[in-house]
Amino acid sequence: MSKSQGSFEITLNPSGFIEEKYIGHQDELDVISGVSKLHYYSKKLSKQNKPVLILIDLSELGTTTAQARIEGIKTLRTLTYKRMALYGPLPSQVLANTLAFVAGKQNKVCAFGTRAEAICWLQQAGLAKNHARPNTKNI
């Protein structure tokens, strides 16, 4: 089931991980809104005693405000998760990895160039078995 709230989409993948996609320019409120959904799904999985694995698509991410980036750092610190993999073009990877370094979570958070690499890294946690995405041919 997928919900769209303007500049982000969030899905609970049948394989058991949370998928979120950020689209276009992101300000503080956009990030807060996206993160509140992440918290919701994270709690839901935790209640079911399932590991929280998060996959974030930054392939259509636009610009971000400084305040949005600070919100991103707060999220990386406070959210409950086992691993978070992000993917997108190089500028988005640099952004995501730097925020992970600032949050001190570089061992749990990593950005990649492709969705396949990101899922492969999530799988290394040994927990996400089936990574097929509906209507995705190239995995």
Partner: protein, 211 residues
């Protein structure tokens, strides 16, 4: 106020490296990050033909390989070689991570710096794709001028000590072709000097617009 990147690297002692010394080999694990205090470092890869292809030149104040570090690449993508005697400050990657932790100002500075450098890399890759030997040399001179000196002046002397072979490597040309092209640019008044090249920026700009 001191740049947060420079401030971070000032905690490391300076190290001296000789001209032509290779600091990082392609495929090396990213164990250290370098802050270039003095001198120039060229970034290149080796083509299947055996020729070097120079992709970039780092100036004093630059940090490398930052793009690889922040994209979490496990190993270096290129060779990094001293183009002159170099003074650099090295921070082990793990120690830099400790400095970045909880330091939003440093994080922001690194994001901006890395994205700016990424743009310059893309510009250089575009330059390498330019057709025509003279256009390649002119693109290189424009790039070097924008990187090394004050471009508000009419004529400027490039700070980087370059041999004809360096120009050839940076343009993907043979040494002979680079010599001919540099000679023609001197005849047209765009370029002056040999080891220390002086560029007429107005003529260079006119040439770039025409071609």
């Amino acid at each position: 106020m001191q740049d947060p990147i420079q401030k971070t690297f000032n905690t490391a002692p300076p190290k001296l490296f000789r001209k032509k010394q290779i600091l990082i080999y392609e495929g090396d694990p990213l164990s250290n990050i370098y802050y270039l205090a003095k001198g120039y470092v060229k970034v290149y890869n080796v083509l299947s033909s055996g020729a070097d292809r120079v992709i970039f030149i780092y100036n004093p104040g630059d940090v490398f390989p930052m793009n690889s570090y922040l994209s979490r690449t496990a190993s270096a993508r290129y060779f990094y070689e001293c183009l002159s005697d170099v003074e650099a400050r090295l921070l082990p990657a793990e120690r830099l991570a400790q400095y970045i932790k909880d330091n939003v100002q440093l994080g922001e500075a690194l994001i901006k710096y890395t994205l700016d450098m990424n743009q310059l890399f893309l510009q250089r890759i575009d330059d390498l794709g330019v057709s025509g030997a003279k256009s390649k040399v002119v693109s290189l001179l424009s790039f070097l001028a924008s990187r090394t000196s004050d471009t508000s002046v009419k004529r400027l002397t490039l700070d980087i000590p370059l041999r004809v072979q360096d120009v050839a490597d940076m343009c993907g040309l043979t040494r002979e072709t680079a010599t001919i092209q540099l000679g023609e640019l001197r005849d047209e008044g765009i370029l002056d000097g040999h080891k220390k090249m002086t560029v007429d920026l107005i003529k260079l700009s006119k040439f770039s617009k025409i071609h």
